[in-house]
């Protein structure tokens, strides 16, 4: 859902300034119907060609709904796709769960941050806070460039909390969120609480107030609307790269004033204005292309009108040729008109929503029973005026109107008109190159919500992938991460660094088949515990048994493995490999194994619990001062002592730490 809004917003903001024809809003809607929604940890098994593959999304942090994908083949080979994750807990999101994924056979991750270390969160928060406070006290405005629906939530939540704090002294200033769909974004965020952090969940369960029911953050959808928010103010505007959208417009307006401050929260892709400013913090001037959608005038307008007419005529002709009667073409014209009306309605609606949202702020029910400002007159309910627009009395029914809003009422209507004009009147896009002096302070404060280099390395070392594919990131970053992973032995297998359009052959020879275990075999086994698993040595012999009893699942899995089984009739007998115990005479012994990795510090606790004095001295653990345990570099444990009871006691305890098979 969020993605939808995001795309929509990008589309709209592009539309405001240039021609954007890659896809339309309808395409977005159509694409949306094809998306299957999944919950975290919900596995979905693919059908048809992808038989045997199951896909599971895991929480990734970074953004609401951020996902690490886990793709499992036949329940064994697992591929993990994890880019843009954040292991740290944030205000509105939990950290990613990548650490819990152990030993994937292939990990695909990015090296975007592999050469980048961020400051501690606290420090960044403080930096933001001081910047805001200083600018506001200087009666300057703060522009924070953020994305439309993802990271903006973290910042919006954080700032609103700051504003709520009595001691912060921010109450006097205004805080606004400006993008084309800010109302929707916040409404969506409200209904997505179950995807957010435990802390947010708890406050919601405990206090019932939705953390995204903002008290101070004002939602704006256009610049005129923003202008009504009194200065000085802090504005969260999209997009983060200052390439399009309100953030660019505000930047152009504000950057010349030294009192203002511009905060970039995201290192956007190279080449964008945002990135340029981050890389050259001391840049004084900037030449940018100012794109604008303007009305067609004079000759151009006439030309456009003529073309439109021709088009219409052509369309009508086509209809007529197709054998459609007059009625048909009539109806098509009708629908055209309706379409137009629709657009108008939408633009209008966008604005009205804002006021509705505001009036709703306080309570969820209608607030006062006698709150009808007008006597209900039925004729007024459905009214078509000359312009074909519907005026619904509810839209004008404002309950608790702020005095400021009242004053602005006239203003707004004017604005409405201008807005409508833009959509109705044919427009074109113009671009003017403009050189701006940057007098405002420009600062980059990292609110990307991605794990940094140090954490990425740590996370990879925790999940120990067998093979690794690195994508996205500067060549140096990728190389450094790749060599780190290989040299430190984190990744036993290969590390792939594919270039664009390059195929990587990451096939593994994975041999796998299923055998049934005979009860006699299982009951003869001696299991030893290790971590959460149990281990046993098996000596067995395969016999092929005909068996008709098969639970469906098994059948399916077997089908996959035995491709030579051509036809599956239900109830047909299949040969099942079954493992039965070898007769004892045929069993040849096996070298016994100690399984587990002992930490001496843990073992010390075990010893103490069992009443044995244990002390570290120079890396050697001395027990009751007669037995010494040391660990060498190779991880080998050495037990040393003289013949005494304690020696055997310690040895028994030591053996308990292992699964010995």
């Amino acid at each position: 859902m969020i993605c939808f809004r995001c795309v929509e917003c990008v589309n709209k903001s592009r539309h405001n300034s240039e021609n954007f024809e890659l896809f339309t809003l309808d395409d977005v809607d159509a694409a949306f119907d094809k998306i299957i929604q999944l919950k975290y940890n919900q596995s979905i098994s693919l059908k048809g060609k992808g038989q045997g593959i199951s896909v599971t999304p895991l929480a990734a942090g970074h953004m609401i709904g951020g996902t690490i994908w886990r793709i499992i083949k036949d329940g064994e080979e697992d591929i993990v796709y994890a880019v843009d994750f954040n292991h740290k807990k944030e205000r509105h999101l939990n950290g990613c769960v990548l650490e819990s994924v152990t030993r994937p056979s292939l990990l695909i991750t990015d090296a975007y941050n592999a050469a980048y270390n961020q400051a501690r969160r606290r420090q960044r928060d403080e930096q933001l806070m001081t910047n805001i406070l200083q600018t506001l006290r200087n009666s300057g405005n703060v522009l924070i460039a953020v994305d439309t629906a993802g990271r903006v939530l973290e910042l919006a939540h954080m700032l609103d909390q700051l504003w709520r704090n009595q001691d912060s002294g921010l109450m006097a200033y205004s805080l606004a969120l400006l993008n084309n769909v800010s109302y929707n974004v916040v409404e969506f965020a409200k209904s997505q609480v179950e995807w957010m952090s435990d802390k947010i969940m708890r406050t919601f369960e405990g206090a019932r107030n939705n953390p995204f029911q903002f008290k101070h953050l004002q939602l704006c959808h256009s610049l005129p609307e923003l202008n009504r928010v009194p200065d000085p103010k802090v504005v969260l505007a999209s997009s983060p790269d200052l390439e399009c959208g309100f953030s660019r417009e505000l930047f152009i307006q504000w950057c010349t004033n030294p009192r203002n401050s511009i905060i970039l929260t995201n290192r956007t892709s190279p080449g964008t204005l945002g990135r340029q400013l981050i890389q050259n913090p001391n840049q004084c001037t900037v030449t940018i292309l100012v794109k604008r959608r303007v009305r067609l005038e004079g000759a151009e307008l006439e030309d456009y009108m003529r073309k439109e007419k021709e088009k219409e005529l052509e369309a009508a002709k086509l209809k007529a040729e197709k054998g459609g009667d007059m009625e048909d073409s009539d109806s098509s014209e009708d629908s055209d008109i309706e379409m137009e009306v629709d657009i108008v309605g939408k633009a209008k609606h966008d604005l009205m929503m804002k006021t509705e949202g505001k009036s709703r702020g306080g309570g969820f029910f209608k607030q006062a029973k006698k709150s009808y400002p007008m006597f209900p007159v039925r004729e007024e309910k459905i009214k078509w005026d000359d312009y074909g627009e519907i005026i619904r009395p509810e839209d004008f029914m404002i309950l608790d109107i702020n005095p400021t809003e009242d004053e602005n009422k006239e203003n707004r209507e004017e604005n409405d008109e201008t807005l409508q004009d833009i959509t109705e009147v044919p427009t074109k896009c113009v671009a003017v190159s403009q050189t701006l002096d940057i007098n405002a302070s420009v600062q980059f404060i990292d609110f990307e919500g991605r794990s940094d280099a140090e954490s990425i390395k740590k996370i990879i070392s925790m999940c120990k992938p067998r093979r690794l594919i690195l994508v996205r990131g500067s060549p140096t970053a990728i190389d450094s991460l790749a060599s780190y992973c290989q040299n430190s032995g984190l990744v036993q297998g290969k590390v792939f660094i594919p270039k664009l359009y390059e195929w990587v052959d990451a096939t593994t020879e994975s041999h796998i088949y299923q055998v049934k275990l005979k009860d006699s075999l299982v009951s003869s086994l001696n299991f030893a515990r290790a971590k959460e698993a149990e281990l046993a040595w098996v000596d067995g012999e395969i016999v092929m048994v005909e068996d008709e009893y098969l639970i469906d699942l098994e059948k399916e899995e077997l089908k996959k493995e035995k491709e030579e089984v051509e036809e599956e009739e239900t109830g047909s007998r299949e040969l099942i490999p079954t493992l039965q115990p070898l007769p004892t005479s045929l069993v040849c012994g096996h070298p016994s194994m100690f399984i587990n990795e002992l930490k001496l510090s843990d073992f010390k606790q075990v010893l103490l619990r069992n009443g044995i004095q244990a002390e570290f001295s120079g890396g050697v653990l001395y027990c009751n001062s007669v037995v010494a345990i040391r660990k060498n570099e190779a991880g080998r444990i050495n037990l040393e002592g003289c013949l005494c009871e304690d020696y055997y006691k310690v040895r028994d305890l030591l053996y308990e730490q292992y699964a010995i098979i």
Partner: protein, 689 residues
Amino acid sequence: MATVSKRKADSQVPPEESDLLVIRPLGAGQEVGRSCVILEFKGKRIMMDCGIHPGLSGMDALPFVDLIEADEVDLLLVSHFHLDHCGALPWFLQKTTFKGRCFMTHATKAIYRWLLADYIKVSNIGTEQMLYSEADLEASMEKIETINFHEEKEVSGVRFWCYNAGHVLGAAMFMIEIAGVKVLYTGDFSRQEDRHLMAAEIPGVHPDVLIIESTYGTHIHEKREEREARFTGLVHDIVNRGGRCLIPVFALGRAQELLLILDEYWNNHPELHDIPIYYASSLAKKCMAVYQTYVNAMNERIRRQIAISNPFVFKHISNLKSIDHFEDVGPCVVMASPGMMQSGLSRELFESWCTDPKNGVIIAGYCVEGTLAKHILSEPEEITTMTGQKLQLKMSVDYISFSAHTDYQQTSEFIRAMKPPHLILVHGEQNEMGRLKSAIIREYEDDVETNIEVHNPRNTQSVELYFRGEKTAKVMGSLAVDPPQQGHRLSGVLVKRNFSYHLLAPSDLSKYTDMVRSTVSQRLSLHYTGTLQLLHFFLNQLSGDVEAIDIQGKKALKVFRKILVIQGVDMVTLEWNASPVNDMYADAVVTVILKADSAGISTKVIPPIMKLDKMHFTECLMEMLADMFGDEAVSKIVKGDRLFVTVDGKSVSINLRNQEVKCEEDEVLQQMVTTAVTKLYNSLTPVKV
């Protein structure tokens, strides 16, 4: 009564290996209320719901939890926020030894908190009888974990996930999988989509056991459209005739559905706009935020609408704080709790309005025997007020059930989709349950392909089912390079984790699991004052292959090829790599050393170390063979380590170096001679490992 495919129960089998699955209702067995079902399988114990009986109070209202040990319950799953499903939860979490984990959906948890707080406030029983306090409830929130619909969780080998149940917001059906056996617990569910909730989902996987509610037994509900039309029509009539319309409802659950219906109806009927609708419940007001938030647990319609406006922000409905804020002037619609008009606001309003024939009351939910709501359905002439006064009942009384429980049609459809081999009925009054049971049995009477066993256990009565433990292991890595064939031998490590088995070669262990092989070496020092020669002699008696070697200038002996005995000053040190066999060898060596130390034999008397004399062996062999086959059979000459024996014209060649016997003509003879030679050799040579 309820055992299927009985198998000889083996008392030796530990619980995690047993094939017995036990389902035992501790509440809601042949009754409605205090839902609590225990599931036991493979040593895991799971409790589903923990409710109280609304008709009883104090400890009596609890399910029969004293029959189980609370600390043995691994997992507690709560289906939805109704009191008869979660009412005893704070007590169970806080006042018992329960230490497992507890799960419910987000919406359930959010509402649970406020619903039970309200319950604590309104239940007017003495404090000593109270099961738990507000503080207990608050503390219990910490212990409850949340689960999203379809999200899979695993707790100590039990895998579970939940589906939408369509009963109330956040209501869930739990699918539980233990060792491949799946059990579906429906809780309360409804397959009928309504205004805000989706119909209960039909799970994509088939459970082996289905535990299903049977509240409405074999009843069949009125169609939704008809029901809604009847409801809105009635309300419209009452307000049109200038009357006041009272709808007593339970604060949460169905009330929200009615609010949506009324709000939409008012929206479509502008002529009604000046007739106010009041909703009088502080609890509902508190929980409205929850409804406005968890739209993701609702149906497609609501989710689509949320993109435009939140349907739970009502346009025509006002909240009424209390009766003092209510101006009773002319027609209005009031929804008030409690639903059965036992006391409270709905009762007060009813008493003040019941004498006017213009007014009307609509009972919208399930009523329990003995409540005023049930009483007025029998259309009495007069009623008794709370103060004991008699009042004439003139207002219209109607009953429209908006209860979101499954009816027979839905249940039957659901069972047909699931086709579970075992069906267990809970949450239904005895007779209804019995009727449902026989109806289902009748339905599948002539169906030879489906065999459904229906059980309707009473409280505390267990249903015992057996599931044959099919254990399959996945063979992976280098062990699985060759495809399975008859007689193919496999040796490797079997890794068992949460009922799944993997067979791996030891070298692949670190590749496929997070387990690491390690080595432990030991050094044991003990007092020894004798010489190494003496030790050598004694050890040679233990093992024939003692080697004398030098380690960094120190004299040492290697025994059993594994144990190193190094001599020091007045002591020896044993070094070896730990393993059960080596430890045993080491123990033997230690014993020998101690013995040698105490024997005190001087070096001079040490007998020479026995060695195999080849000549001696040849002589003995010849003698033995002569005894076996006669003097003539044995050739007296040894040619290049080979000795020949001729028996009945068949020649047998014996290799003296490796004791190999060959006779191409007669295998029996060869075998015989081989045995004799090997035995002789073994008896003459010192012990070896």
